[in-house]
Each structure stands twice: as structure tokens, then as C-alpha cells.
Symmetry: C2
Subunit: 126 residues, 2 copies
Amino acid sequence: MDTDQVRGKWDATKGACPTRQVLGRFGDTWTMLVISTLEKNGELRSGQLKATIEGITQKMLTQTLRQLERDGVVRRTVVPTVPVTVSYTLTPLGLSLAAAVATMRTWAYDHMDEIAAAREEYDANS
Amino acid sequence: MDTDQVRGKWDATKGACPTRQVLGRFGDTWTMLVISTLEKNGELRSGQLKATIEGITQKMLTQTLRQLERDGVVRRTVVPTVPVTVSYTLTPLGLSLAAAVATMRTWAYDHMDEIAAAREEYDANS
DNA sequence: CGGTATCCATCTCGATACTG
DNA sequence: CAGTATCGAGATGGATACCG
């Protein structure tokens, strides 16, 4: 790890590179969806997020939000009403990430037909 | 699934949307690394890929390459020498994906310090 | 050399039930 | 309403050994 660092350059193909962890963390489906949803809606309460993202469980939602909060991507706000009100927003860092995620999402959207066709052909010739 | 489709618009927050599967497939670490490596080097043999991507096992490399081949992102070429020679290249579709992946990778690279700092602070206050 | 097959530890995720 | 705790099924990925 330090050997890479002293060379002054990180290489994503090297195991020690933190880029891997970042990609590993933000690459999964729920994370991308949470970020996209927050980007589109600005500020949302926990329940709204759960209702919007079809199929997510409370466990996964909380887990995902906690990680994003830890990474400085999402800000969690608690208003001490009864019952308590909790809302989430993207931080500036989160907004910049949302742009990158949007690139992936858009690519997926634009090419899903091509991919489906490629799969069909591959599966046919096997 | 069909209910979404007939409405003419896919929504990534809906479970039936194939965007999810695409993101799920291309989001993982090995896939991103294989694509990035192929983008940088043009054409590579299996062994070269394995040597370049530190930590990948043959199983994961083959598995990743097969999926990418099936999705029309990578082209596999076999030259029947003895022993056999196999090389991989990105298809045009793969090149466009590489651009999207590069966005994520660049973002990760540019912000990993910020993320590390956020994590430290979060962990300190918990 | 490139790929497959098997086994096995680990992790992920969902379902459920419970707290403030 | 928001979150935690626990459990179990299933996916994931590594190690190993073997084929063409």
C-alpha cells in the first residue's frame, strides 16, 4: 500500500488503490438508485425514499444511507418531532457523484436494447 | 414488467427496469477494471489481463470476460496455435461503456481524499 | 496457456419482530 | 415513522485440481 503511495500515483489495477473500494461501494444497485432518487427530488424523508425505490427493504435503505452518510455523500437531518422526522439530501460531494452515476445510468438506458440483442445471439449460439 | 413497458418509459426505480440489471452487471469492481484495462491497452491476451489486474483470480477473470462477451462488450478471438492463443478486445459498444466507466473511475480518483476525510470524521463521532 | 469443475468459507440480502 | 436485531437462504468469490 505504501509502496504505491510513495510513487505518487495510484493505479486502479493494484489492489491497494482506494479507487477499488470507492467503485465497490458506489457501484451497487441500491446506492445508485438512492443517489439518483435524491438528485431528482432534492430532499426526501426516509419513508418517501422507501416508497419511491421499488423493492428496497428498510434494512437495505438504512444500510445504504448510513454508508453514504459516512462517505460524506448524503446529509441526514433529524427533526425531533413526535414521531421523529428524518430527511436526507445530497451534499455537494454527493451532487458531483450523482453526475457520474447519471452517466452510467444513461449509458445503460441508451444501450439496453443492444445488450439484450447481444445476449440473445450469444445464448442462441451456445 | 409489461405494464412498465407499454407505458413507453422505463423508470429505474421500478424493479422491472432492465437498467438495474445493466448497472448490477457493470457496477462491480472486476468488470470495471477489465474494461478499463482493455481500453488502455487495446488488445490483450488472457494471461496479460490476469497479470495486469492485481488480485483477480482466473475464475473471476473468465467469468467476467464471459459475461462481457455475452453482453456484446468484449470480443474474444481464438487462434488455434499450440498451445492455444486467446485475446480480447472491446467492441464499439464496449468502447462507449469504457467512457462511462472512466467517468466513475475519475470521480473516485478525484474525490477519494474527501471521502477518506468524511469517513474519519464520521467514525470519530460515533 | 487458457479454461473448467469442485468444494467451501464468507458475505449479502430479505423476512420478521421489536424499540423509541 | 425511523431504525435496530436476528436468523437463515442464497449468491459470491477464492483455492485447488484437472482437461485440451
